[in-house]
Symmetry: C2
Subunit: 357 residues, 2 copies
């Protein structure tokens, strides 16, 4: 094992750049390269590409195979897309070389939810090449699923789970705003839902499957609804202005039915500036069980920063995990990496060897 | 593997009885026996011993070896004591037979905190006999340690951790009330601290070590303080009456120093009926990091019920764990056992085999 863990980041957008910068700040980790999907970014200095404010003397690669051959990474963090179908090719290429993968693609939190065949294929490939794959991110991957599973540990006889995440879209870019219908008329929002341009939250099915698998529940069906959040007061960010009567975001809800009753209800209204109309942001998890549990994060766990931290904090756990496809609920918790990751990696390595006999 | 997991419970006090009753309610688990330390309980019908309201046609054993030979358990839950020194003999006897152990002894949450030699010995014994040992419970084991570690996963560059648990001792028995100094004069409280009869919370060192190990932190020293919580208004429970000027409980605080600064501050005032003086119960975790995280459970996660649930929910995880001594932060999360534990155990078994090659 080398002195430092070599990491390659796929994606140089907001998430990929934040992850790359965090790797540079973390002793024990080495940013060995970055891969951009946009060919125009190839050759750009990596420091510049990730808004570091200084050059790194290392160029962004536009070709994954070239990057792998050059950077010889131990682990790759994939931050290029949301869907399994779109992530598959990159993850496959990495696993074939025995490189561990952390993906922040939302659907990778539980890829079998929408792509069971691909999930099986990735698992088999990972096992064959001695590598581990983990999907993570703030949500899915943490707030509305892992945290629910962790809190359920203090419960017996769980009857229902209700979890709500109220956040502010103001820090997000144009793609996210568009997918939530921000700035549309209510009519255009309905049309957008019908033609797929308004999608709401990516991740309810993934979260519900993760919870159900952990609790040993069989889910009969999942019902989702998406409603426009119509502004009553003007809301304005550098990217968008929403007038009264226009859409400030999407109230997306999922209800999972089990044995004829609603068992898991996930509520995720995403909008710009909810505080303008007196709505406080926050995450709330309520489990009706013995005992009842009610936990709140106020304000909400910040999405972008949390996803960046989770992706980096996942590195020691993924290195120590048995080969195969994993979800957040079947690995030990990802702790914040402290001053030095080396002892964690060493401990992880010893543990892995011990496990593998 | 048998159709059901055979469980023996050590201890028929409030916790042991609650755990035994929960095992009886959980499909996939079989209550194979119970062991009482008090010889007078030996031979008592187990149903009667655990306040089930009906006989079970199975006698409580007063001898652990006899119980093991008769019950042939897969796993034992130890609920007899708080200290490693006191738990060691029972755990050793179980491990020698290859029986997995879940202990709710507070010090078993991180036994190396006070008994590093015993911790090493138990680990070696567990490995030698292919069994796993886990210490769990609401606190230490969950609120002021595991939950902190889990939440740290969304953080980078953690600076400080502050966690507070405000609970009500009203549901607890005379031993707990005595150890918190409830009903004493402030002078008698001070004397009790000096002679060791007033102890405050068992578990700060364990929680701090678990957090530090997960985050890769080196702790220089831990400073603890115990102050009497003096009632200003009369507080009264079926077991105790506290007049104004008398002690309603113990404000126990621990500060862990790292690199010259306070890094982890744990605050745990335990008293009867805090609401009488307008104090709301609850658990709060604050992590100063990127991003900051602030999470609250309100009311607090109920101690007794949560410990019972954790002990039972630990069973599938302990069966699936590699041989050795584990803490809550190095196993995958204990989820609430659902309608049936068998598929979890099967999945756990397959995973274990896979890991062991």
């Amino acid at each position: 094992m080398r002195d430092r863990i070599r990491v390659v980041v796929l994606g140089t957008g907001q998430m990929g750049s934040g992850i790359a910068r965090q790797i540079l700040r973390t002793p024990g980790l080495e940013l060995a390269g970055a891969v951009a999907r946009r060919a125009a970014r190839g050759g750009l200095d990596l420091g510049r590409a990730i808004d570091l404010g200084r050059d790194l003397g290392l160029a962004v690669d536009a070709d994954l195979e070239v990057a792998i051959a050059r950077a010889r990474p131990d682990v790759a963090i994939q931050a290029t897309c949301s869907r399994v179908a779109d992530a598959r090719e990159e993850i496959t290429a990495l696993l074939r070389r025995g490189i561990h993968v952390v993906s922040i693609a939302e659907e990778m939190a539980w890829p079998a939810a929408r792509a069971p065949a691909v999930a099986r294929e990735l698992h088999a490939l990972a096992v064959a090449h001695g590598a581990a794959v983990l999907g993570t991110g703030v949500n899915p991957g943490f707030v509305l699923d892992l945290l629910v599973v962790v809190l359920s540990g203090v419960c017996a006889d769980v009857r229902t789970i209700t979890a709500t995440r109220v956040n502010d879209l103001a820090p997000y870019g144009p793609t996210v705003l568009r997918e939530q219908g921000v700035g549309l008329t209510p009519e255009a929002f309905r049309t957008g839902l019908a033609d797929g341009s308004v999608v709401g939250h990516h991740g309810f099915a993934e979260s519900i499957h993760m919870i159900a698998a952990a609790l040993g529940w069989t889910i009969d069906r999942i019902e989702e609804s998406r409603e426009p959040i119509v502004a009553r007061i003007r809301r304005e960010t550098p990217l968008v202005r929403v007038e009264p009567g226009e859409v400030a975001g999407c109230l997306h809800t999922a209800v999972a039915w089990r044995a004829g009753s609603p068992a898991v209800t996930l509520v995720h209204p995403q909008q710009v500036q909810p505080h303008v109309e007196g709505v406080e942001t926050g995450d709330t998890i309520e489990i009706a069980a013995t005992p009842d549990v009610r936990v709140t994060a106020r304000p909400e766990i910040p999405g972008g920063l949390a996803t960046i931290a989770l992706a980096v904090n996942a590195i020691p756990r993924v290195l120590a995990a048995p080969p195969g496809l994993h979800c957040m609920a079947d690995l030990p918790p990802l702790a914040a990496i402290g001053a030095d990751v080396r002892h964690l990696v060493e401990a992880a390595r010893l543990r892995t060897e011990h496990r593998r006999g």
